[in-house]
Assembly symmetry: C2
């Protein structure tokens, strides 16, 4: 089935390579138009060159376009994949430095977290602009939202634009495969359920060859985790913090739920450097690696794309990535029925207890019939308690502040941080942050 | 309609007098059996004497019983009114002193709050014992739960005992009348909607003679609140704190939402004595007055009940109280249709956005057809954000800890307090509290 796929933010290193590879390795998408869009021309050129040469090497015919004009890319699209970052990582870090100065340490959603409200503000605005373009130029297109904040974004946009075909995606659930490998299981023989909200998902069902695999995980913790902890990186997916969370709550936190990228939940593991050391946590090092790794990948792609002697299939070897984005496109476009984990509103109470107009991360049956949410067995009550307290509560406050442009509500959001002690502290932090010259738009928005 | 009404905890000063008066002043309940039950014989005798003489004076025929045997009182009852306190106020205060020593200041639900978890534990157990008696001895009876915690209790019991006829009641919404009088309006000419969860209810609709009364409230705040603040008590219903909450959030907090008894929400008004002084808050003085007032009322009732020269109708003059308990009994028993504010599960989404198996405080049409919840216009999103964060989140954690007897979850509850800084602090506080000799039962329950 030939379709038009628009990739907004195609120069993002993390996703674009996988998206390009996966399109080229999906014969069903032959003859499709791939419109790569980015405002950074150099990065756009890199993505374009890689895609072009990769397609040639594997012998798939694609109509490849590149543009810095978002509307041109979206016009006539069947799928719009949004991976764009509206504000740079350096802004994120500058905000963190100010926050730390005012006593906000690590782990409260919206402050020292990669979904900081001063990043989300620009992301939500960009997302909404993209939605407006879609509804005007290709109203039946599917918007596949990969850029953060997925939880707030899907909730906000789908409530406001009911007719929009919208699905949020995150690869975090793939952490289950990492977990399986770590404890010595063949990832191809596991099955699982990891319901929740984006970046806060929990392994409620876990099978290996059809048998309950939790006893194997417990055995690994008893017998082998000590040895693993001695060698693993800090802030590890399977390190002392996630294992302790499992011991307390009886379900294992998956993906970014307990690790720095996206989740960083569990403030009591981060109350001071000594406590962090005890739990082998070092989120700053983690982020340093994450930011540097991203830059290196951009540089590497840039170099490779411009070297005519390198074969793309050798530089980026292997089969399809484990990203579910292009499989979702194929399922929707070509009626290839698949179960894919997505972020959609909780209509039908797919995760019981979460409000029905709030975005959940759940499996869905995807086909030409659309994205049909699958009702999960839900979350234990004590995990739901944290969903209400640490996710839905702050996200609803952020969205209310954003929609109304209300600085009092933004202050309320700051005062929800576990490291907030007084109103004065929150006011001082907010004032210093909003007074950064490049935050003029945000400063004017929050009156 | 002659019915049997069992009053459990009939010796409680606060409610029993009003219940007794209201029964005696409801001719429809003539010939009913009133079974007063308390484990404190002296207080029981006081309630019995007052009720007996009051009924004689007003000329209503009631079959009056008194018993210390709960099962005897419940057997054959049509209505069971539970006002019992399973743990004394001195235990509440002793826990507070320990909490303050460990850095927990005022306002987190479940610690320095009158719904402290070390009180709720005994309350929930007693409530469940009463429910078991009812289901065995008079399964069609209505349990009218007046004792705290109403929010957690109704949620817990109604989820577990689906066939139980249960309704929770609180007089806090009467604060709207106080508000009306304060700003110079005739309370008999107002109408309103105050949805929410118990002790967290908000004036979303407010009319005076059929016209929107919010402009009158705003005018009072602009022109007269300053004068009022100079004279009013600390921690006043209409003091600087509730008025400031209204200014931030656009809806007025009613009843105990922002005042010490039951609510004490808004930790940032209580972060230190200087901040409290700025907001004219002194919850300790408020509680001192509350506890002392209760004791004085008990003593007063004791003295009056035993003095044959005092007429009850003169000692306790006036018409029916504003308590909705006996009107609810009359409506259910005698099909007198009334709209009454109750606490019931949110089936039918009476307050949209709150989980359907969670107790909300809403108006209901009450008649022989039962207690039929009325769908309200709901709460603003930013208020819902706080419902999730500061009410549903902690209450779900408390109930999960209680049901499982899980000390890790109890620790998680403590760490949800806005004044909690570290896990060590929470552990130390919990250990000292649980080691009080009289908490042996709770210590053994939370393994």
């Amino acid at each position: 089935m030939a379709v038009k796929i628009s990739v907004i933010g195609a120069g993002s290193a993390v996703f674009s390579l996988n998206i390009i590879k996966d399109i080229c390795l999906t014969p069903n998408l032959q003859d499709s138009t791939i419109s790569l869009m980015d405002i950074n021309e150099e990065r756009l050129e890199t993505a374009y060159l890689i895609c072009k040469r990769y397609a040639e090497e594997v012998g798939i015919k694609l109509n490849l376009e590149k543009t810095t004009d978002r509307r041109r890319s979206i016009a006539g699209a069947d799928f719009v994949i949004n991976t764009a970052l509206a504000a740079s990582h350096s802004r994120l870090r500058e905000g963190w430095e100010i926050a730390k100065k005012h006593g906000y340490y690590f782990g409260g959603l919206h402050i020292v977290h990669d979904e900081a409200f001063w990043i989300n503000f620009y992301q939500l605005k960009l997302m909404e602009d993209i939605v407006k373009d879609i509804l005007e130029l290709s109203p039946k297109a599917w918007l596949i939202m990969v850029a953060n904040p997925v939880q707030a974004g899907v909730t906000y946009l789908k409530r406001k634009y009911r007719d929009l075909n919208l699905v949020g995606m995150c690869h975090g659930y793939g952490g289950v495969r990492y977990l399986a490998r770590t404890i010595g299981l063949d990832p191809s023989k596991i099955s699982f359920e990891v319901p929740g909200v984006n970046h806060f998902i929990w392994l409620t069902k876990f099978y290996y060859n059809g048998e309950d695999a939790y006893p194997l995980l417990k055995k690994w913790i008893e017998e082998k985790s000590g040895e693993y902890f001695e060698k693993c990186s800090t802030s590890n997916h399977q390190g002392p913090k996630p294992v302790d969370i499992f011991k307390r709550f009886g379900v294992f936190p998956i993906g970014d739920t307990a690790t720095p990228g996206g989740g960083s939940w569990g403030y009591w593991y981060h109350t001071d450097p000594e406590v962090e050391k005890k739990w082998q946590e070092d989120p700053w090092k983690w982020f340093q690696g994450y930011f540097e790794g991203g830059l290196k990948q951009v540089e590497n792609m840039h170099r490779i794309a411009r070297d005519p002697n390198i074969k793309m299939t050798e530089a980026f070897p292997g089969q399809k990535s484990s990203e579910p984005i292009i499989p979702l496109v194929e399922s929707l476009a070509c009626d290839v029925e698949r179960v894919i984990i997505v972020n959609i509103l909780n209509e039908g109470e797919l995760v019981p207890g979460i409000p029905r107009d709030y975005a959940v991360e759940v499996p869905a049956l995807v086909s030409r019939k659309g994205v049909q949410g699958i009702r999960t067995s839900g979350l234990p009550r004590h995990i739901l308690a944290y969903v209400y307290r640490d996710r839905i509560g702050p996200v609803e406050m952020e969205l209310a502040a954003f929609e109304k442009g209300d600085r009092d509500l933004l202050l309320s959001l700051v005062m929800m941080d576990p490291f907030n002690k007084t109103e004065e502290q929150a006011r001082n932090f907010l004032e210093e942050l909003l007074n950064l010259p490049y935050h003029e738009e945000m400063r004017k928005h929050y009156r």
